[in-house]
Symmetry: C2
Subunit: 258 residues, 2 copies
């Protein structure tokens, strides 16, 4: 039994197709993931509920394992039933995968130990219309060996000042990358990047740089040089948003029973 006045926190694991959204973060008059979740919760419960997310994904970026949380006081509905109600009311681009009662004060971003993003590249001369919204199309042959060499330089604790775009200033650019894996699967190339935090567009700059190295247009040594000098200009372009997907968020204690 959940009493009406008790303060609680509900955490949800969600997936979404970011194609039709202006990113995660609420923005006036624009369709965003956070805005859509808050609106839907308001329609269901009658009151505004502020939603926090683990990753502030950009416009066009997808998620298969985003974690969100919101405090509730006037909401006498268990987390599991909240998920079912939400799934019935959300647009088809957003789906709740799991729900849990989280400790009071739980914050999906600040409490995360690390996050894993996947970036997908489709490698063939001809475009694939069925994956065009979820994978970057790449025609050029790629030297995976050089790309993996450069990727290895990224792992560990570094000042990633060079690996951010302007637009979201931070106090410190020091982050720990746990792993950068480059996986081949038929015509696809998957970049799996896990870190304790990401700077603004950091994954897309990493992928854009590794692709330039693979194409032979940048030297693999630019990664080390950029880590040392902090110069964004040494690196490749920011890879397009639609290849990127937030896959997993890990916490000290398991939040969801699956």
């Amino acid at each position: 039994m959940i009493s009406r006045k008790q303060e609680r926190c509900i955490a949800l694991k969600i997936a979404y197709d970011g194609t039709g959204f202006h990113g995660f973060q609420r923005q006036p008059r624009l369709r965003t993931i956070q805005g859509t979740l808050e609106e839907t919760l308001k329609n269901l419960g009658g009151i505004h509920v502020p939603v926090q997310g683990a990753g502030r994904t950009d416009a066009g970026v997808h998620a298969r394992g985003q974690v969100i949380a919101f405090p509730v006081t006037e909401w006498p509905v268990p987390a599991g039933r909240t998920a079912i109600a939400l799934n019935g009311a959300l647009p088809p681009e957003i789906s709740v995968l799991a729900a849990a009662e989280a400790p009071l004060g739980f914050h999906p971003r600040f409490d995360a130990l690390h996050k894993t993003y996947q970036y997908t590249v489709f490698r063939r001369a001809a475009r694939c219309p069925l994956r065009r919204l979820y994978a970057l199309h790449e025609r050029a042959p790629l030297n995976l060996c050089l790309m993996r060499e450069a990727a290895a330089d990224l792992t560990g604790e570094h000042d990633f000042s060079a690996f951010q775009n302007t637009g979201r200033p931070v106090d410190s650019a020091i982050r720990v990358i746990k792993a950068v894996l480059i996986e081949e699967e038929d015509l696809f190339l998957h970049f799996w990047i896990t870190a304790n935090g990401f700077l603004y567009q950091m994954v897309r700059i990493i992928v854009g740089t590794l692709l330039e190295i693979g194409r032979g247009r940048l030297d693999a040594a630019v990664v080390r040089e950029a880590l040392e000098t902090g110069r964004r200009g040494l690196l490749g372009p920011t890879a397009p948003a639609h290849g990127l997907c937030l896959e997993r968020v890990t916490y000290k204690e398991r939040i969801f029973v699956e």
Copy 2:
């Protein structure tokens, strides 16, 4: 060298996302695959070129291996360069995968030995937003054993009168199904169906019926009974279009060098 007046036939293997189209076949004032191809060819070459396809896919049905062909007389461009020009001019939902000069009089549908369709089902309690346009979402547990038993009854030469919807009358409903394979891949179920020809919505009726059998709502014996009696009413509903994809068309002689 291709002379200006020589009559030729160009065959193309194409892929498309059928989501935003009213099916393959040209229809006045509606966006269709055939209509879009003919318009694009007209924009490129200045004259109307009638396009034939191997499969007249319904609205919302996709293709990864549709074959189309068109005769050309005033088109002094080799097939390979036609493909490149088309890929530059077609909308992102359609892509040319391969091109070839075909024998004069080649017809992609009448000359096909058999066609293979794939139908994809996504099995999990929660919807998958990233596959929602390309896979049917199915929550119920499915008895694959019973489904495979019923699928086996479909193979071979039969009168498939029961396995068609009204709307595209045919002289004979006798077809040969070469194989119905049900393949599991993580959370996906793939139906692979190969036949020398398909009646109107035949694949979707087969899948809709096999799913009803898997859910325990229809007896596996209905397949045999429907083949014997020709009664559509014995079978399950027509499965939704968006799970279906035309994968391959096979000819006596290989058309495309890949």
